[in-house]
């Protein structure tokens, strides 16, 4: 079994939109790539609309995946309905690509509740904010499914910074020893807030980290959705057939700041950002598909309009303001509230009643 990643990241469509033949992985058909293109356009629209909503005060914060949309879309598209996705706070676009309502997905970042969607409805775990802590959960979900003889695969997302966390190592090791069907997908966007990759790891690549656990690693161009679909798809297939976990590192770039509260100018140069903009995931796929006459102007227009409708639904959904009911605070701490919580709920209700009387 080959554990180390290939010498260079897997690329199937390069930054100029040219197809690049590969020994192991094959390029998807135009129809599948057209669907992926529509996904990328929608994800970009979601990122940009959410950032605008932050500026308008309708979202508290938004960690954008602008520039990482190929990873987001591919992560959702390689999974079937029986699979699970374990996202982080930066993976709202992947969650929506998996089918979750964008307004429900943004509940967390609006501050209306923590997780706004039903994790069982689309098999999407709550977004994890503490780094790498969701990775052992992914292993547990996968093991439980396997115990019941189900063919579920779990795809767990994390970033480059999270690979320094203990739970990253514990989860990979655990998954390998117990042969859990999990694909660990690292979006290496080069920065953990302000700290660059060089301060995070001295490994040749993050995909190399798999060898320490007996987990095969693969490195892929994270702005090439075709390569991502091929590599992640093969990893999911491998896990499903019982061959155990895999680690995939995607090389991409966080074009936007960490969040709206961040000032990226303090730690990186504009030229660096510009160089990555030239490798944009949408532009390259667009030129590839246009050149092949698969993406017609009409189709492009229709895809853009669909993305506009998504943005409109976000604006409308997030402009509605439901009042906070303090009873919610006590309803979901335990299956049934403790006597102490019942007492505190009564105290808060009394306070509100007295306020209303004034």
């Amino acid at each position: 079994m080959r554990l180390l990643p290939s010498q260079t990241p897997v690329v199937l469509i390069d930054a100029e939109g040219e197809a690049r033949p590969h020994d192991t992985y094959t390029l998807a058909h135009d129809d599948e790539l057209l669907d992926a293109y529509a996904g990328l356009v929608a994800a970009r629209r979601l990122n940009d609309q959410a950032s605008v909503l932050v500026r308008q005060g309708r979202l508290a914060v938004y960690p954008s995946s602008h520039g990482q949309e190929a990873c987001q879309v591919a992560a959702a598209r390689v999974l079937t309905d029986e699979d699970w996705l374990f996202p982080t706070y930066r993976d709202t676009a992947a969650i929506v690509a998996r089918g979750v309502d964008p307004v429900e997905a943004l509940t967390l970042l609006r501050g209306d509740w923590h997780c706004g969607y039903d994790p069982y409805a689309h098999r999407v775990a709550p977004q994890a904010t503490p780094l790498a802590t969701q990775l052992p959960h992914a292993v547990g979900v996968a093991l439980a499914a396997r115990m019941r003889g189900e063919s579920t695969v779990v795809l767990a997302l994390c970033g480059d910074g999270a690979t320094s966390e203990g739970d990253f190592h514990e989860a990979l090791n655990f998954a390998a020893v117990l042969q859990a069907p999990v694909v660990f997908f690292v979006q290496n966007n080069q920065y953990a807030i302000s700290v660059p990759l060089a301060r995070q790891s001295a490994a040749p690549t993050l995909a190399h980290k798999g060898i320490g656990y007996g987990v095969p690693g693969e490195q892929v161009d994270g702005n090439d959705v075709a390569a991502l679909l091929a590599v992640l798809g093969a990893a999911v297939q491998r896990a499903r057939s019982g061959e155990g976990p895999q680690l995939v590192e995607a090389l991409t770039y966080r074009v936007a700041p960490h969040t709206n509260a961040d000032d990226a100018a303090r730690y990186r140069a504009d030229d660096e950002v510009k160089a990555w903009l030239a490798r944009d995931p949408i532009t390259r796929l667009e030129s590839y598909l246009t050149r092949r006459d698969a993406l017609t102007p009409e189709r492009k227009q229709a895809i853009a309009e669909e993305a506009d409708r998504l943005a409109e639904a976000m604006r409308e959904g997030l402009s509605r303001d439901e009042p906070a009911d303090p009873a919610d605070l006590f309803a979901h701490v335990y299956a049934s509230p403790t006597p102490q919580l019942t007492e505190q709920a009564r105290m808060v209700a009394d306070e509100l009643e007295r306020e209303a009387e004034v």
Partner: protein, 330 residues
């Protein structure tokens, strides 16, 4: 079912509880360090792998955070995991998983994702353990909303409370007093299990009430026996469930005597004992003839075995505290 009384140690009763739960419900799985073929360092999981197979009871890598984190995922996906942290102090690496996920999952998801899981933690001192093997870490967990925290002091409760913990729809941190693992008692495990959240009066008395939990309960009972010889009648309440706390039973027992001493092994500052004392004062102030006293471990890192006799609550220290309860004014 026929009532059957038999003599079991607490470790054997816990083992029986796991076995019975696994036999009854195939979603109950047990895993952790050395819990498989060895049967756990305290033999609480003895024979489970042989009886139920490696799928249901298995050894894991030495990774407490992942053990708890994997249990979270399993509980999310239809299982009822029961995991063992080998020793109190070895559970600390898992604390982020406990505080950020185990305790919060139901709440973060508005009740959509429940985590029916049990984290078993052997805890406490008095067994001559070298460092990092004798901590009383219950306050960290009791302070974290979303967890139930349980600790038995009798063999019968060890069985019953562990069955109740495994059946609970909420995550339970189950503290097993190491010092009592080998305590033997004649029990009938077919008896009804005590519900989580109920304290019990172990000894009735009229002069003062001792409130204790886990390994401190037998010490409190010993103190009450000595006090009785000296002509003083002490009640003893076994808290059993730290969260949710049974204010009613505790306060009723305190009001009946008007004097209270809280006994616990853990260091006293910002402790469960401190919380109990505060709750009694808030609720029973007008029934109290004296301030509530605490007899706890000292506010020191757990000492080496040679010194632990100075640290742990003793009968004498409890009786001294009782003597201090302003009898002359009463």
């Amino acid at each position: 079912m026929m009532a059957t009384r038999e003599k079991l140690t607490m470790a054997q009763a816990l083992n029986r509880a796991l076995r019975d739960a696994m036999a009854e419900d195939e979603t109950v799985v047990v895993f952790g360090e050395d819990v498989g073929h060895l049967g756990g360092v305290f033999r609480v999981t003895d024979g489970l792998t042989a009886e139920f197979g490696e799928q249901r009871c298995f050894d894991t890598p030495l990774a407490e955070s992942a053990i708890v984190g994997v249990a979270v995922g399993m509980a999310m996906n239809g299982m009822r995991p029961v995991v063992e942290m080998q020793f109190d102090a070895f559970a600390y690496p898992a604390f982020e998983q406990v505080a950020s996920h185990v305790a919060k999952m139901r709440n973060r998801t508005r009740g959509r994702v429940a985590l029916p899981m049990v984290i078993r933690i052997p805890y406490g001192g008095g067994i001559g353990g070298v460092e990092h093997h004798s901590d009383s870490s219950e306050a960290y967990f009791a302070h974290t909303p979303g967890l139930h925290v349980v600790t038995p002091s009798t063999v019968a409760d060890a069985y019953g409370l562990l069955r109740a913990a495994i059946a609970s729809p909420d995550p339970v941190v189950f503290f097993e007093p190491k010092k009592l693992y080998w305590a033997k008692e004649e029990v009938d495990v077919t008896q009804a299990v005590p519900p989580i959240g109920t304290a019990v009066v172990r000894r009735t008395g009229t002069d003062a009430t001792l409130i204790a939990y886990g390994p401190a309960v037998p010490v409190a009972l010993d103190a009450a026996a000595v006090a009785a010889q000296e002509g003083r009648s002490l009640a003893v309440v076994d808290v059993r469930t730290l969260v949710p706390f049974d204010d009613e039973t505790v306060c009723q027992a305190v009001r009946a005597t008007g004097r209270a001493v809280v006994v616990a092994e853990a260091s006293g500052f910002a402790s469960v004992a401190a919380e109990i004392a505060a709750r009694i004062t808030e609720r029973c102030f007008h029934s109290l003839a004296a301030p509530v006293r605490r007899v706890t471990g000292l506010d020191i890192p757990y000492p080496p075995p040679k010194y632990e006799g100075f640290h742990l609550p003793t009968v004498d220290r409890i009786l001294d505290a009782v003597d201090d309860l302003q009898w002359e004014d009463g």
